[in-house]
């Protein structure tokens, strides 16, 4: 059932097999999995069904360099469904290489393998409504499918890879009824976790403290607790709970909040493909299940190993929107309408110096000059996105010239100094706010450059295209908007050694036997893939782990015990 935390008496003590903190994709997937296995679950969600300004402001915090990272209350939503209320829906799994310890990527290597996670991916795809777990173009779209670039055949660069798109599914509204009906599940809205209280020996969670915005307080005494509050908030909760361990829960070795990663992303270079425009698949295709899919370029795993490259992908993209030299009415229209687009989606429409009047005029001219394309685009956008239940994922322009930029999305190499800490300020609940100090390294930029070099060599060798990019401006191109927003990774990383990780392969905090973390906070490395699908799969795996550990308990039900 779903109810409001205000229905719980002040001072009450709630019991459950598992207390899940955070009702985003990770918490919802986990809760439903635990319920299926007969466990009772109390899901604490700070927000409500809809956005609530006061609750959202609990996410506010500081950013060390505002050019490098968006404010902590952006790209995150504190409500049932979490940030899936605003996500773009890109769903793809991590690659086997992501789990390997690679000697050329410091701090790489997961304590589990791709095969360990593989059984959970199909269900993750189903929950994200991203169709089958099939990421090869021929397998997903049919054997007759045209190649991404006709005539391009390479053993070093893979072009048969696909990414799939969710509706994008808002996990809160999509799964509210399942949560409402799931046996043994109680979802409390407006329930803010304000502390993880360990037992005196620090080896187990004693109580989870909960407060509402109106000041009501109660606690939960679960058999196991899972923090599923997102990559930033999970670290915040661990660091802020310091009554037994002064450095924060699980932070004996100063690892919590460190190794913070996003993705290295940006539009770079100019790719000129020879031949006719219809020889290129740059946009979206529909899989038989009705799911939008898109091709991508990547350096093969063996080549990554040989050259010591971080994982990365590239999509065929249009030129920089802000520069009216592209002469596209659609892009100029987007530029002019950017104030009507949300922060998260307009960020990459605002770059560099503020546009001059002349720039505006040129954009306006592009729109006027290109009325047919602009109208066709608007019609398509309205029918396929605005009013569609499964939304066309992003702006795609008709390919008329076979010229593209490459939209890079690359793994960030983990480093301890990229971190989040607690700031001196507190939120309305008295919880210390976060201070984000995200860092990248030259090695990140260099790896993208060398991946681009591989692409360029293979295009040239096959005679299919020419890729040019400016190595001197590559860092600027990739860092123009700082860290790729919304991907918060690594702040409670997974590993075998508690001196360099926070949780073990079971997602359990090393030092606390009944405290677990679900979500991208536990990823030790970031992959080329967006984190959502993998964090759902990992949450489902955690559901199995917890079900095995806790079994069905006849004693612990969801009961209120008034203290």
């Amino acid at each position: 059932m779903i109810s409001s935390a205000s229905s719980i008496p002040h001072g009450a003590l709630l019991e459950a097999d598992v207390c899940v903190v955070g009702g985003g994709p990770a918490g919802i997937a986990l809760t439903l999995a635990l319920s299926e296995n007969g466990l009772s679950v109390l899901l604490l969600e700070s927000g409500f069904m809809k956005m609530d300004g006061k609750t959202q402001s609990l996410y506010e915090g500081e950013v060390v360099d505002q050019h490098m990272h968006s404010p902590p209350d952006k790209y995150r939503q504190r409500r049932l469904g979490g940030s899936s209320a605003i996500w773009g829906g890109r769903c793809m799994p991590f690659d086997p290489i992501d789990f390997e310890a690679r000697n050329y990527i410091p701090h790489s290597g997961w304590p589990l393998s791709y095969e360990d996670l593989l059984p959970y991916y199909p269900q993750a795809n189903a929950l994200a409504e991203a169709g089958r777990f099939s990421y090869n173009a021929e397998e997903a779209l049919g054997p007759q499918v045209a190649p991404m670039i006709r005539g391009f055949d390479s053993s070093r660069v893979r072009t048969s890879g696909l990414e799939r798109f969710s509706c994008p599914t808002h996990f809160g509204s999509r799964y509210a009824k399942r949560l409402q009906l799931a046996p043994g599940v109680k979802v409390l809205l407006g329930a803010n976790c304000t502390g993880i209280r360990l037992q005196a020996d620090g080896r187990a969670v004693g109580l989870i403290e909960v407060s509402t915005l109106s000041g009501k307080q109660f606690s939960v005494r679960p058999r196991a607790t899972v923090l599923a509050a997102g990559g930033l908030e999970t670290a915040r909760l661990l660091l802020a709970s310091r009554d037994v361990v002064p450095a924060g829960v699980g932070n004996h070795h100063d690892v919590v909040g460190r190794y913070y990663m996003c993705h290295i992303a940006g539009n770079v270079g100019m790719l000129t493909i020879h031949g006719a425009p219809d020889s290129v698949r740059h946009g979206y295709e529909l899989a038989p299940e009705g799911v939008y899919c898109r091709r991508r370029l990547s350096v093969t795993q063996s080549e990554q190993r040989r050259l010591g490259l971080a994982n990365a992908v590239a999509r065929l993209h249009f030129p920089r929107i802000t520069d009216p030299a592209h002469r596209s009415g659609v892009l100029s229209g987007l530029f002019l309408a950017r104030k009507m687009i949300s922060y998260e989606y307009s960020k990459r429409l605002n770059d560099g110096a503020p546009p001059t009047l002349g720039t505006y005029a040129q954009h306006a001219f592009n729109v006027v000059k290109d009325p047919v394309d602009t109208t066709a685009f608007l019609t398509h956008w309205l029918t396929r996105r605005t009013f569609a239940s499964r939304k066309f994922p992003s702006v795609i322009l008709r390919n008329r010239t076979n010229r593209f930029s490459l939209e890079m999305h690359g793994e960030q190499i983990p480093q301890a100094r990229s971190r989040v800490t607690l700031s001196g300020k507190a939120d309305a609940m008295g919880m210390p706010q976060l201070r984000v100090d995200w860092r990248y390294s030259q090695a990140d930029i260099d790896s993208v450059a060398r991946s681009l070099d591989v692409f360029a060599q293979e295009f040239e060798r096959t005679g299919t295209a020419r890729l040019e990019y400016n190595r001197a401006t590559l860092e600027e191109d990739l860092m123009r908007f700082g860290a790729y927003g919304g991907h918060h990774i690594g702040t409670a990383r997974m590993g075998h050694d508690e001196r360099s990780s926070v949780v073990n392969a079971d997602c359990q905090v090393h030092s606390v036997h009944n405290l677990f973390v679900a979500g991208s906070a536990v990823f030790p490395t970031s992959s080329q893939a967006n984190p959502t699908l993998t964090l759902i799969a990992l949450s489902l795996r955690l559901g199995d782990t917890l079900s095995r550990r806790l079994q069905r308990s006849p004693v612990l039900q969801l009961e209120e015990v008034t203290a």
Binding site: G142, K177, Y284, G290, R384, S389
Partner: protein, 338 residues
């Protein structure tokens, strides 16, 4: 064992007759209401199930009767009442009664056979609840009855859950429905229902008790998954994601005129299949109803071995393709959108 089957020309009845005839222990006679027999259909006996006297005469000498009668509320409810009276008059000891999960009404969650009956969901559920009450009356008067409550019965030949459903998918009126299709399908293969009916004939039952069994394959998916799978298997691709609004419009605005057109064509002696199938609003309710039948009693007590979902899906799709001249159209063609 001499077995009398009422409703022997229906979808389940026909398959049941086949399976009964393949047993070494049952001697089956099928019956159907005479006036509903279409050309080509055959039944051993034609009777009116609402006429106790003629039914009693037909039932004399039989050990059991299986009640697969479908139709109007009256033929379901009054038919069951007449059947009980006829069995008592003819000393026919056992009734195996095919009920439905609709007797649980709007209930949601995992339901076993102890869940209360709820007749509030329209005429069909109400009539089926009444029929079950007549069965209880039969048992209290010394008879034996076994009640089976199947979910949605599908398989090759299923017009309701395969033919009509696939046509909706091919015409873009059905697809992935999101929350509106998140209910459990409770699909059960027609062979499994017949298996359960056969087992129910020979199930030892105690006095004053009419055991009931839910029938739904344990691996039956949610509706969205079934619709997507059936669409892919029959080539209705790419599957469309439909908004609840579009479904509502189809059911409430397009539904009534389509229904009237179908009835008119039937009245005029024309083939009503020429009119697109209306989308009954009741189905919209069903598809979003999170009701999941717990069929473990049927597995354990009746020993039903369930047809795997994938097998039922593929054979159903094949039947649809063969009967709609769409064979060969299943190519997984991706749609290049820009």
């Amino acid at each position: 064992m001499k077995v009398f089957v009422l409703g022997a020309t229906g979808y389940i009845g026909q398959r049941l007759m086949e399976m009964l005839r393949n047993t070494s222990w049952a001697e089956a006679v099928g019956a159907a209401r005479g006036h509903t027999l279409a050309p080509g259909e055959s039944a051993d006996v034609r009777i009116d199930a609402r006429e106790p006297a003629s039914l009693a005469a037909a039932l004399r000498g039989f050990d059991a009767v299986i009640n697969c009668v479908a139709g109007s509320a009256r033929s379901i409810s009054e038919g069951a009442q007449s059947l009980v009276q006829a069995c008592q008059a003819a000393h026919c000891a056992r009734i195996v009664h095919l009920s439905t999960m609709s007797v649980y009404g709007p209930a949601q969650g995992l339901l076993d056979e102890q869940a209360p009956l709820n007749p509030s969901l329209g005429w069909y559920g109400r009539a089926k609840c009444e029929a079950e009450t007549h069965m209880s009356g039969f048992v209290h008067a010394g008879g034996e009855a076994v009640i089976l409550r199947p979910g949605c019965v599908f398989g090759p030949g299923s017009e309701l859950w395969v033919g009509r459903t696939a046509r909706w998918l091919h015409s873009g009126r059905l697809g992935d429905l999101g929350t509106a299709g998140d209910g459990w399908s409770n699909l059960v293969h027609v062979d499994d229902v017949c298996q359960a009916l056969l087992a129910a004939l020979r199930l030892p039952v105690g006095a004053q008790h009419a055991p009931a069994f839910n029938l739904a394959a344990p691996d039956s998916p949610r509706w969205n998954e079934y619709f997507t799978d059936l669409a892919v298997a029959t080539g209705a691709t790419p599957v469309q994601r439909l908004s609840p609004r579009k479904l509502q419009l189809d059911a409430w605005i397009a539904g009534p005129p389509l229904k009237i057109a179908q009835l008119l064509m039937k009245r005029l002696g024309m083939n009503p299949a020429a009119v697109p199938d209306p989308l009954p609003p009741g189905l919209l309710r069903l598809w979003e109803q999170h009701i999941r039948l717990d069929a473990s009693a049927a597995t354990e007590t009746l020993g039903v071995s369930w047809t795997p979902y994938e097998e039922g899906l593929q054979s159903s799709a094949q039947w649809f393709l063969q009967n709609s001249n769409r064979a060969g159209t299943v190519i997984e063609k991706p749609l290049w959108t820009h």
